[in-house]
Amino acid sequence: MKLNPISLFRTMTRMRAFDEACLEGVQTFEIHGELHTGIGQEAIGVALAQSLTPNDAVVSTHRNHFHALAKGVPPRALMAEIFEKETGLCRGRGGHMHPFDPEHHFSATGIVGASLPVALGYAYKFKMMGLPHIAVGICGDGATNHGTFHECLNMAAAWSLPLVCLVENNEYAISVRFRDVTATPTIAERASAYGITGRRVDGTDVEAVTLAFAETARHTRKGGGPSLLEATCYRFRGHYEGDHDNYRERAEKQRMRVEMDPILRYRRELLEHGAATEAELDAIGAKAREEMTAMLADVRADAMPDPAGAMDYVFAEVM
């Protein structure tokens, strides 16, 4: 797989700028519920974007923005949904935790542990119809201790379904440390219990995670059965905006935000290898922020859903 470094950098930068724009809505209460940003986890989003085809399916989590963008969900409709607008992807009914885009085969769930079963349904259909698509079920380290993790990998392996289980291991299930509640040092090693391919990769090294996901996806797409990819990363902000986040040492956070920032890391790498100049990379960053600032201004002008429609869409048809 040939990588385009500038494109990888740009995609990560746009993702971060997207979430930074969303952060503004929290301060102003335009987003009046929770917001879980993916800041620090951009490289994994890029890995998805590089390998998925339009017909593949992705089922994501409460921290879903980058996965949605990677799957081709229109950024403006996604941002409008996050800002609870009628113009949003789901007409303001779903909000940031529940974006659904059937056209791009993307969905998410706000319930930890609930994404893999739905992804399994897509995988089953692809296998049943003999289609060359894959279903990617994304979960965090917290969800890997949920019963569905075992149930789904078991079924996917038993029936050789094209399911890629992508685990974003950011070390914390809200406040609970992965190592305090998990029997094995890694999640990837559990793959052997199901006789499937399992792999662990540094999810903040954009090239490494992109290549690892590409290989994993190819294996499954070519009929190799389900696979498990554990991408390590670090959540830069609290579990949600407003989380007091007193369960992580300040020193740890400061250190990790430097060491595990996928954008900073890649920037250094590109500069070291002379793949780009500081000015070029700065310009990419500035352009991304400009794009998202403009998008935010645009979204803010949209109408909120009409209260008269609050009961619409409960059922597909009027009985």
Binding site: A57, V59, G88, L89, C90, R91, G92, R93, G94, H98, F100, D101, P102, H105, S107, T109, G110, I111, A114, L116, P117, V118, A119, L120, G121, Y122, A123, Y124, K125, F126, K127, M128, A135, G147, T148, E151, C152, N154, M155, A158, D312, Y313, V314, F315, A316, E317, M319
Partner: protein
Amino acid sequence: MTVRKINASQAVAESLMQEMARDESVVLLGEDVGRSGGVFGSSRDLLERFGPMRVRDTPISEMSFTGMGVGMAMAGLRPVVEIMFVDFMGVCLEQIYNAMAKIPYMSGGRVKMPMVIKTAGGNIGSAAQHSQCLWGTFAHLPGMHVVAPASVRDHKGLMAAAIRSDNPVVFIEHKGLLLKKAKDFLTGSEVPEDAFVTPIGKAEVARKGNDITLVTLSAGVEYAMEAAAEVAAEGIDAEVIDLRSIVPLDTETVAASAARTGRLLVVDEDYLSFGLSAEVVVRVLEKLGPTALRQIRRHAVPDVPIPAALSLEEALVPGPASIARVLREMAAAS
């Protein structure tokens, strides 16, 4: 059109067979649905006919295979997910009420959820963890249709309607009805051989009467018909309404009858409090006015788990004898 007497489990299996033959996107999955043909025989012969990709025996992983059904529906299939006993729904309720029932709304109408949860409820002496009905629980949670057939004919017609619906439908069979012989049914065991649909949301008057409006569903209809026949000899003329569907609830049919008789009795094999019986009463009163009825009675399982001993179960669960007793009490009161 050929009409035969068949039993309820045959009717369900026949409906599944015809719908699966008609539409390749219909798939059935669940525990023991394939090789055994269902613990009540309601998916007999389907594995042989359609093969393991469309008739899938699952491991005991209710949470995940229910969620798999949600994913299948979103991917364009029409899954029928069997949860063997309704009591097991606690294991997978998350996917039912957070995913299946909410995604159409959460998506702003962009996603359809053509999915059926097929499950068996009701009392046949199996004690607390294998005897519940729980239709009131599902009806309380927005976003799913809930049906519970009584007649054999409706087992077939409502299953076809559920499969063809673009909405999620919880289809609750009664274990007692699934085990009942065709010849023992008091209502509708003559079933057309050809496929047909019973519309979801329309109640049926199972017995016409002028004195008391008796509203019930599922096996309660059979019990009520037996009780009504018994008290008819004493000059009490009960009208028996089979709701068929809890969501949507056909308030029109019930209210029209209650307005005529002035007496309303709801018989419910589900728990008493915060459930179907109160909902039916309130909807009728909202429609007719608070003073429209002379008598209102609820006969349901008091708020207690179902005991194992027959003597205790009979004391709690509505049956023909207890329904007849309530009808007599109502008739005597005015």
